[in-house]
């Protein structure tokens, strides 16, 4: 079997496996998160019993139980539905989400020659140069491996092309269901998705102008050399993120499936795993959109001050510290960084869901066409003018910008250290255990000097 196929299989397994597992766990995170925010216990019924031993795992078994249940539920189809389209819709909803990850890089290019070298009896982990390609060793015949399934020149456009295919699925599922609420949901869903797709596409242009490439790998490289996209293009980042949340049809943008208005939107008539496929595709969409934001705006696999040759803490010309690291270690760091950033962003998206109320439909469309679209066009103009002026500026401006860029890297490093530190500290902090107090709101009541034994807390 040729090498390129051999290399592709583990990459596909990693990406699809990550999507499936995180998508499944996210269904649990979403419910558990809502329970914590609303002072409930949350999912805890699924249990594996071995004798007296009960394995509950804080409800983590629920996604698996749901999956099994979905498969064995009645597969119902409305008698007047268009059978072909009705069956095709869930399949069409799932395929584009899975295909979308093809161009997303989850690590820096690996030089297989330089991972582990054995010279004589000594096994060592060699370092490689900070920039430049891998030195190709003809004896082993190993080519450099991109840690992405395919590196396309159109990169980001491939993502948009795939994301656009999901609209048809929503439309035909509603159309073929023979239910007026499905049809309305489908119409709302597709008009919301097309509106926000425009914003999505135009908001990112400012960042593209600066990166000068559509290849996602090169975008990440630019960010690790200069500064993360969120600092260079903050406006683009916020619009892009909002548009992505709207594309995945989650609260506050969940009008297509607003339970109080449309039953469940365009997949009202679906049951069993066919409903599960829509549901699951939505959660996988959260993962893919997080991956996309991480790659374009949050430095991808990059970590502050970590380069291909190791850690170099430098501000402009002033070098503070340097620690060479082996290629293997840097690569593992990068892959871990990418996946951890993705998970964090997934969690933020579930968090957003339980923090914001739903928009009204006119607000939703108004926000897109009257606010986000003009702002992203203005962002293109401002970016263009500023960037061309900077190109004409004397060299010391460039040096200063480099200094500012390094400062943002330092800022990220300090911020992440602080957040991780306080999270760890918070986990191990000793808490006074009061069986009556269930959660945050009860603590709030107590801090106000009142008794926490309200009827709600009983």
């Amino acid at each position: 079997m040729p090498n390129y196929i051999l290399y592709a299989i583990p990459k596909i397994l990693i990406m699809v496996g990550f999507l499936f597992n995180v998508g499944g766990i996210l269904t649990w995170v979403d419910r558990r998160q809502s329970a914590m925010i609303q002072d409930r216990v949350g999912p805890n019924r699924a249990v594996i019993k071995i004798g007296k031993f009960e394995l509950r795992l804080w409800g983590l078994l629920h996604p698996a139980a749901d999956g099994v249940k979905f498969f064995f539920k009645e597969d119902f189809m409305p008698p007047k539905a268009d059978k072909l389209l009705f069956s095709l819709a869930p399949i069409l909803a799932m395929i584009p989400v899975l295909c979308l990850v093809a161009v997303i890089p989850f690590g820096d290019t690996v030089c297989p020659d330089a991972l582990i070298q054995t010279v004589g009896n000594v096994t060592q982990l060699p370092n490689i140069a900070r920039s430049g390609l891998c030195t190709f060793d003809p004896r082993t015949g190993l080519q450099p491996i991109d840690l992405q399934i395919v590196s396309l020149d159109i990169g980001l456009l491939f993502v948009f092309a795939m994301a656009g295919q999901g609209i048809v699925s929503a439309a035909i599922s509603g159309w073929s269901s023979d239910n007026k609420f499905s049809l309305m949901g489908a119409l709302r869903a597709s008009s919301q998705m097309v509106s926000y797709e425009v914003t999505l596409g135009l908001s990112v242009v400012g960042a593209l102008m600066i990166y000068g490439t559509l290849r996602l790998g090169d975008m990440v490289r630019w960010q690790s050399e200069h500064a993360w996209g969120i600092f260079v293009q903050p406006v683009a980042f916020f619009i892009f993120f909002a548009a992505l949340v709207a594309e995945s049809k989650r609260i506050p943008f969940d009008l297509p499936e607003a339970e109080s208005e449309l039953v469940s939107g365009y997949f009202t008539e679906y049951s069993g795993m066919k409903f599960g496929m829509f549901y699951f595709a939505e959660y996988m969409e959260i993962v893919t959109s997080s991956m996309l934001v991480v790659t374009v705006f949050l430095g991808g696999w990059g970590l502050p001050f970590v380069h291909r040759d190791g850690i170099t803490i430098a501000f402009g010309e002033g070098m503070l510290a340097q620690l060479p690291l082996p290629h293997l270690v840097v690569t593992v760091f990068g892959v871990l960084a990418f996946f951890i950033k993705t998970l964090t962003l997934c969690w933020i998206q579930t968090f957003v869901r339980w923090s914001l109320p739903r928009f009204r439909y006119d607000q939703l469309m108004g926000l897109c066409w009257k606010v986000l679209l003009p702002v992203s066009l203005a962002n293109i103009f401002v970016t263009g003018v500023v960037w061309l002026l900077l190109d004409m500026a004397p060299p010391f401006v460039g040096n200063m910008l480099q200094l500012v860029g390094d400062a943002t890297q330092g800022f990220v490093a300090v911020l992440v250290t602080f957040l991780v530190g306080s999270a760890v500290f918070g986990l191990f902090r000793s808490r006074t255990k009061d069986p009556r107090i269930i959660g945050a709101s009860a603590e709030l009541v107590r801090s106000a000097g009142k008794s926490p034994q309200s009827p709600m807390q009983a």
Binding site: I95, V205, W369
Partner: protein
């Protein structure tokens, strides 16, 4: 045709299609099927369906779709420019702004005509 470049991509396509089809087939095969007259009614949370089966929908959705097509084509023109933007310089920026401005006129027209109002 670079088989080497595209083969992994098509492998992913095939894998994605296979997974989706597998899910679908399993759902069809494993689940029971007991249709009844009640079930085959359009699901509206248990209350009887009221009014016409097919509602008339606002023509504004059509306007949104047209606006989307126009701006989608516009963004397709913008991407190649954004990639080459630094080498094209001020001339490139000016021509792109001219292009965007003309389309913005269309958006402003639609706005003024109330095509972007959803309150009614």
């Amino acid at each position: 045709m670079h088989v080497q470049t595209y083969a992994p991509m098509f492998m992913l396509f095939v894998a994605a299609t296979a997974i989706a089809t597998l899910f679908f087939t399993l759902a069809t095969v494993l689940g029971p099927s007991k249709p009844s007259a009640e079930k085959s009614l359009p699901f509206e949370c248990g209350s009887d369906s009221d009014g016409a089966q097919h509602v008339r929908l606002s023509v504004k959705f059509y306007l949104t779709a047209i606006l989307f097509v126009v701006f989608d084509i516009e963004s397709v023109f913008v991407y190649p420019w954004a990639i080459q933007f630094r080498s094209l310089g001020w001339m490139g920026l000016a021509s792109m702004m001219g292009f965007l401005l003309v389309i913005l006129v269309g958006l402003v027209y639609a706005w003024k005509k109330g095509a972007l109002e959803w309150e009614t």
